[in-house]
Amino acid sequence: MMFSKSAKNRLKFFILLLISASIIIFFIYNNLKKNTVYFYAPQEIKNLSGVPANKVRLGGLVKEGSLKKNNNTYIFVITDLKNEILVEYNGLLPNLFAEGKSAVVEGFLRDKKYFIASTILAKHDENYMPPEVANALKQKKSK
């Protein structure tokens, strides 16, 4: 490949720039990862040094059989299959909210085991299939 000399110089300069830029971005990214979490998993809440006073999000599976309704208040358990956190919520549940599915709840931690939610978002997973297939899979699992 024939490049002119000035193109070669520009390329060298550019590669140098690229390397230094990626190093900077790597550091920024590492920092971002620490400071900006979209939601905490129950395990991450457990590992926190204190109980955060500001609004946080908690994400995980809604434990099967844990959803209870008391007047307008829902109580359920968010779990990552190791740690469990009890969530209290007052309001309407989104359509896709269900036991055994993922959800993200927004609100305040009263303590490390009790969460008072003001908003609930149902999280969808990466599986897409027709109902018949889902039923067949379910039956296969229970056999």
């Binding site: 550019f14 971005i25 905490y40 909210f97 149902a122 999280k123 969808h124 027709p130 109902p131």
Partner: protein, 232 residues
């Protein structure tokens, strides 16, 4: 070494191929829409809202792909001073902008019935928002800077720098806890979309790609003639 990218090659290609591309597009979009809206099954959880995915996912893919092209063209233009690559990038940018907007709008319209919110600042949604802003910046810079050479240089830089965002968007769902679901289609594992839903998705992607190519060829023709006229 850039012989096949000579302006004339593409210019002639544009004149002869648009007709056939239009015919292919019409056939594939009819099949794609038929499958997406009528013949594909509902999802076991999302029910009918899964049909929004057949517009949302191809649009997102194309908006990422087009920015990748803009970035690579800007890089070549910046380093090797092959001016025609800036013309390619300039012609394709508005298409990417429109598809990124479609991606964000249809995503919100899917999010409201599914998640329970139109918007949330998680990793994927935030990085996609930045992509839309980058597209807007890129297109506006071309139209606001009157001097061609300085517009070219500045937009090239925006194109190359904006490239950093592409892997961030792609891997945001793997790197961060996010509300957005992880990728269903990856290079390393079998897709987690049932084949009856994968078919309309891929056909819609094909149709959108052909449409992008048609619009690109038209815009490219305009830009090349414009380039020549301005030189007079």
């Amino acid at each position: 070494m850039f012989g096949i990218f000579k302006p004339r090659t593409f210019f002639n290609l544009a004149s002869t191929s648009i007709f056939w591309l239009k015919i292919i597009f019409i056939f594939s979009i009819i099949i794609g829409l038929g499958l997406a809206l009528v013949f594909s099954p509902i999802d076991y959880l999302q029910k009918d809202t899964v049909r929004i995915m057949y517009v949302h996912v191809p649009s997102s893919w194309i908006s990422l792909l087009i920015f990748l092209i803009i970035g690579i063209c800007s890089f070549i233009s910046l380093i090797f001073r092959v001016k025609v690559f800036s013309v390619y990038a300039k012609s394709v940018a508005p298409i990417g902008l429109v598809f990124s907007l479609i991606s964000v709008v249809t995503g919100s319209l899917w999010g409201f019935p599914t998640w329970g919110t139109f918007w949330s600042w998680d990793g994927r949604l935030t990085s996609m928002f930045i992509l839309v802003l980058t597209y807007i910046l890129y297109v506006l810079l071309w139209s606001f800077i009157k001097d061609y050479n300085s517009a070219e240089k500045i937009t090239n830089i925006v194109g190359v720098v904006g490239l950093i965002n592409i892997p961030i968007i792609k891997f945001s769902v793997a790197w961060w806890n996010s509300l957005h679901q992880p990728s269903s289609i990856t290079l390393t594992a079998a897709p987690t979309i049932h084949s009856s839903m994968l078919a309309p998705l891929l056909i819609m992607f094909f149709s959108f790609s052909i449409l992008s190519l048609i619009i690109f060829l038209i815009r490219y023709k305009y830009e090349i003639i414009n380039f020549r006229v301005n030189k007079k």
